[in-house]
């Protein structure tokens, strides 16, 4: 569209016709605060915090900058006039009148968007509009998170994330008017619904109304317990996100400092879930080749993402046979730690505590699933999100930025680049294809990159030819995309042999357990691409880039599991699924 000339606070700007006031202001270097607005998925103009004055030739009036399109030459916009400031303050004061203002003890204190804006706007009285305040019970029913409606500001970002990104829709607005609240059908606890535990609602919540269940105290206690041998492992996406909690630019890989911090927190071993990822490739590639050549159930669908697995169980119960029986990488590592490694260090599995640092909230749920206990005790004892790790580091007084770079421990710390890229959508597929390519082509060390499965498109497709064999693959991230792909597969419209699905849009780098970036950043920066780049760069820089060449994984098979897909490997590294209903 043609450009039009407008003035923002007196400064001339040229923007394409139809640009929103918010975007135009951003171009002009002017921030307008927002709460409800999420580009493309929550353009509802509800919170009214972004109101600005606009004059399209008929005098100034107030409009919502987030959704108001600029269509007229010479439109004038005021984003910081007394009237706008007054509106913003009143909106904040009204929100505060229904908000449970326990800021000191709130998990979001310091990262709360409401708090930050109140501060910016100089709100000096949080009780201006004191009056009736609806009160709610906190919903603790889910394994991975809680919802505290007393803090909810009804921006509905969680609702949009749940319904539009994830196609799940277990939370939404109920009742109306002053009684409007976010909840599930019939006030069911989230744990009773078909919530898939992805945590995208947490990632987008501007305040402390939705948060993960925090297990940092339990982990500190385990570390302090002399009788316990505490192993920590970190997922690939954590190193690409953790830095944001300590002021690094988005997409900074802080692997070395993270390892150093974990060691200083007192963990006995610091392992890398990437190692588990390499192991997963061995098992899953074997499973695929077996199904592909022996007429097994296809398409095979990856099972690394527990949010996806739960979604499959609830929404596509007929397709649980398509799921790979492989445990997810951190569960594999936990299983190996409590069997093979336990033997090596002479510890009983019950004396070992495995802590997984994950970009994910669904992993909190996954580690409590049945059939995730190779040694008779849970493979993984605690799952902490990237955010909880940051909390531990701060609480322990570690100066993160001043830490040295350190390496993971052996033997479960060595990993191929293929394991690194598990954290981005398409990464598992690429890692598997790299190995499959080597196996099928007979060239055991050739690294082939599969760029068609990279990038942040919701559904990606590719046909891979290896020698005589043609394999159709597809990659989906975000469960709404996954649902769309699966419906096509189920109806026969689309034929695919191998599918990678990640619950979170963009994969684990954008997981529900990653640092919360305010919407003012998310609306203008692509977190998924920036964080994924850190992982692809790490892969690129490594000499070891193929999972099957990981010597420590090879050693595990030689010493313990015999070969990929063996009976013993199945007992330790594989799991089962259940069919569930939609609630």
């Amino acid at each position: 569209m043609a450009d039009i000339n407008v003035k923002i606070n007196g400064i001339a700007v040229s923007v394409p016709k139809g640009t929103t006031v918010l975007e135009a202001a951003h171009t002009a270097g002017v921030d307008i605060p927002t709460f409800c607005y999420m580009k493309e998925i929550n353009e509802i103009g509800a919170c009214r915090i972004c109101m600005v004055e606009i004059n399209e030739g008929r005098g100034f009036r107030m409009v919502a900058a987030c959704v108001y399109p600029l269509n007229f030459e010479n439109t004038e916009i005021r984003t910081n006039s007394p009237k706008v400031m007054d509106s913003r303050r009143k909106t904040l004061e009204l929100i505060l009148s229904t908000h449970d203002k326990k800021c000191l003890s709130c998990v979001r204190s310091g990262s709360c968007e409401l708090q930050a804006l109140c501060n910016e706007m100089g709100i000096d009285n949080e009780s201006t509009y004191e009056g009736e305040r609806p009160t709610f019970e906190i919903d603790n029913s889910a394994v991975h998170m809680y919802r505290d409606n007393n803090k909810c500001i009804l921006c509905r970002r969680c609702v949009a994330a749940c319904a539009k990104w994830q196609g799940v829709g277990v939370i939404g607005a109920n009742e109306r008017g002053f009684k409007t609240n976010i909840g599930s059908a019939f006030e069911m606890g989230l744990g009773e619904t078909s919530c898939v535990s992805c945590g995208q609602c947490i990632a987008v919540c501007p305040v402390g109304a939705i948060s993960e269940k925090d297990f940092t105290d339990q982990v500190f206690a385990a570390i302090a317990d002399e009788s316990k041998y505490v192993i920590v492992q970190t997922a690939p996406a954590v190193r690409a996100g953790l830095g944001e909690e300590f002021g690094y630019p988005i997409g900074t890989n802080v692997e070395g400092k993270m390892v150093a911090a974990l060691r200083r927190l007192g963990f006995d071993n610091v392992f890398d879930t990437d190692w588990g990822a390499d192991l997963t490739i061995m098992e899953e590639a074997t499973e695929f080749v077996d199904r592909f050549t022996n007429g097994g159930t296809l398409p095979l669908i990856t099972s690394c993402s527990p949010g996806w697995v739960k979604y499959c169980e609830h929404y596509f119960p007929d397709m649980t046979e398509n799921l790979s029986s492989c445990k997810s990488p951190h569960q594999m590592l936990g299983a190996v730690a409590k069997t093979y490694y336990a033997e090596k260090i002479g510890k009983k599995p019950e004396d070992i505590v495995v802590v997984s640092i994950m970009p994910c909230t669904a992993k909190k749920y996954e580690c409590q699933r049945d059939d995730q206990a190779a040694a008779g005790v849970p493979d993984v004892d605690y799952v902490l999100t990237t955010r909880e790790l940051a909390r531990m580091i701060r609480r322990a007084g570690l100066k993160f930025t001043a830490l040295p770079d350190e390496d993971f421990d052996d033997p479960l710390g060595l990993s191929a680049g293929a394991g690194d890229i598990f954290g981005a959508t398409g990464g598992v597929m690429e890692a598997a294809l790299r190995t499959a390519y080597c196996w099928l082509s007979g060239n055991n060390e050739e690294v082939v990159e599969f760029h068609e499965v990279r990038g942040t498109d919701g559904i990606k497709r590719s046909t891979v030819t290896i020698g005589e064999t043609e394999i159709k693959v597809a990659v989906a991230s975000g469960l709404a995309n996954a649902g769309e792909l699966l419906r096509r597969v189920q109806s026969g419209e689309e034929k695919v042999d191998f599918i990678e699905i990640m619950a979170c849009p963009g994969g684990c780098v954008n997981g529900g357990g990653q640092p919360q970036q305010p919407m003012s950043i998310r609306n203008f920066e692509d977190l998924r691409t920036l964080r994924a780049k850190a992982l692809y760069d790490e892969d690129k820089a490594k000499t070891l880039r193929l999972s099957h060449l990981n010597k420590d994984v090879q050693k595990l098979y030689d010493e313990f599991l015999e070969k990929p897909g063996s009976h013993k490997a199945h007992e330790i590294l594989h799991t089962t699924y259940v069919k569930r209903t939609i609630n």
Partner: protein, 163 residues
């Protein structure tokens, strides 16, 4: 609120067949949810979880979306009214003459809270604003019948009339 007591759901196969027929007829229509809910309420008298679940499964609409719609509109009801709906005036005049005690007594005797319905579907109980019968305070109504100048002891006799 979903925690209110209500009669156990006793929808019949016949009602279900009717509802399924309505859904089948409406399914292809754009914006079919409202008409389906309205018909469902006509069939069952209210929209309990069991009915919403059928609609959710058959129409492929998340339960929460349906519940969000149902709780938005005043005409949709999650709870059945009893055969006899008891309405206790909690207007000021009645209140100071002890209608609150009568209300409490009714809750105790019937084993339900305000807005709920007894398990046998016989009585539902609610509080209302002044019905303009202050001279008779405290008053309650059972369907169309008005009872005035009540004491807590009268509750049992009134209920007995409808047993």
């Amino acid at each position: 609120m979903a925690t209110k007591k209500s009669v156990p759901f006793n929808g019949t196969e016949e009602q279900k067949a009717k509802l399924l027929a309505v859904i089948a007829e409406q399914k292809g229509e754009k914006g079919a949810l409202m008409p389906v809910l309205q018909k469902a309420q006509e069939i069952y008298g209210y929209l309990p979880i069991e009915v919403q679940k059928i609609i959710s499964d058959e129409m492929g609409v998340p339960m929460e979306k349906i519940y969000g719609v149902v709780t938005f509109y005043a005409q949709f009801s999650l709870y059945p009214k009893g055969k006899y709906n008891i309405s206790v005036c909690l207007g000021t005049a009645c209140y100071v003459k002890g209608s609150g005690d009568i209300y409490n007594k009714l809750q105790e005797v019937l084993g339900i809270a305000g807005g709920e319905c007894t398990a046998d579907g016989k009585f539902s109980l609610e509080a209302c604003r002044c019905i303009g019968a202050c001279g008779l305070a405290p008053v309650l109504t059972v369907n169309e019948d008005v009872y005035g100048r009540l004491t807590v002891d009268d509750v049992a006799d009134i209920l007995a009339k409808y047993e």
